[in-house]
């Protein structure tokens, strides 16, 4: 886990009693993984192998490991002790195994079975990893605007005027010392036509671009003119939402 999202939220970290040693740098996360790797390195057949034959390699790896989480280290050490026991039994052959030894031999069978299962998932994991590297992602539909054009109820003119009035209140009145320019409706018509060429626009946004209320009124009248000339269609996808103005298809 080398990614940033794996880091716990900062508020949680101090509560964790375990020392935050990075256990990710060593190759082996757990004893099963190490054991499997050793069997593969020694080219031992998992179906045939006697685990006592990997004991020395296991102990050597363990000795070379960097300091790590004591809990995790305990898991490695526990397996090491079992392996040593197993090896000592195997070194003294011939005698009838005592009950404790029989239990240990059963344990070996169990570990071999688990190693086989683990190896299968590890192979699937590698296949998934390879697939991921092939750049084969499927991209789902993005958040797109829901096409409701032509479906909503006709926009009422009074609703439009109310919307305009509420916009007006958000614009400053004409300042005492007037420094802005004054607009004619013809000029504003050109501005709106320009905007339409670039695609649809939000009426509120255009009106709020005004320097003062007078300019807003001129813009609004110019917009009404476009509506009257049938040059634009207007729709409001949600009540009290944006009022979209768009060029009417020729």
């Amino acid at each position: 886990m080398t990614d940033a999202t794996a880091t716990p939220p900062p508020t949680v970290a101090p509560l964790d009693p375990r020392p935050r040693i990075d256990v990710r740098t060593p190759v082996f996360e757990g004893p099963m993984e190490l054991l499997l790797a050793l069997c593969e390195r020694e080219e031992l057949d998992l179906f045939e192998v006697s685990l006592s034959s990997v004991t020395d390699a296991y102990l050597a790896e363990l000795a070379g490991m960097e300091h790590r989480d004591p809990m995790q280290m305990a898991e490695f050490l526990w397996l090491a002790s079992r392996l040593l026991l197993l090896k000592s039994i195997r070194l003294l052959p011939g005698e009838e195994p005592e009950p404790e030894e029989a239990e240990l031999l059963g344990w070996e069978e169990d570990v071999r079975r688990r190693l086989q299962e683990y190896r299968q998932y590890k192979e699937v994991a590698e296949a998934l990893m390879a697939r991921r590297d092939e750049d084969q992602e499927c991209y789902p539909a993005p958040a797109r605007e829901i096409a409701v054009e032509g479906q909503e109820e006709a926009l009422q003119m009074d609703a439009l005027v109310i919307a305009f009035q509420s916009l007006l209140q958000r614009l400053p009145p004409r300042p005492l010392v007037y420094v802005g320019r004054s607009w004619t409706m013809e000029e504003k018509l050109h501005v709106l036509e320009d905007r339409l060429n670039r695609g649809r626009f939000d009426l509120a946004e255009v009106i709020l671009d005004s320097e003062d209320r007078l300019e807003a009124v001129v813009t609004f009248v110019a917009f009404l003119e476009l509506l009257r000339r049938n040059r634009v269609i207007v729709h409001q996808p949600t009540r009290y939402g944006e009022i979209w103005v768009e060029e009417r298809a020729a």
């Binding site: 886990m1 996360e29 299968q120 998932y121 699937v124 697939r131 084969q136 096409a147």
Partner: protein
Amino acid sequence: MSGPESLCMALEAILFSSNRPLQVRELQRATDSDRAAVERGLDELREALAGRAVMLQRHQDLVNLATRPELASYVRRALRPEVTGRLSPAAYETLAIVAYQQPVTRSRIEEIRGVNSDGVISNLELRDLVAEVGRGDSPGQPRLYGTTMRFLQVMGLESLEQLPAPPGPEADGAQGATNLAEQ
């Protein structure tokens, strides 16, 4: 809904417009159709989409449209979608176990891996690759984990059925793994 053909069209329009997977039930409600009709419509849509750039993804009761895996590089070049961070080998291992054993408990995952897997599982949950899908019957009602639609998307699969034959003592695990890599 006037006919089976238009149901298929309506389903396509809805799925095209939705930025999240939809449940069959939601599709029923939106089209005033029963479950069987929607399932037929989805089958029809799947066929209609053959040879097109978009395919129907299905994960249990969820459906969505997504681009075909072999076209990923074009989408990436055009739109630079956000790159999902790399996963660790431990994460892939856990993902493999969840994919084949779902619904699966944390303790079963840990039994197979032989190590504590809390951190890995919550990382996979955070990335929406794995999710809690219910609670087990055993004492303590342990959480059950399964893969998500996002898992299918990241791996470029239409459904979980496209995963190779499950590994197991009877099947040859290496065989399945090879198939997956070759797809």
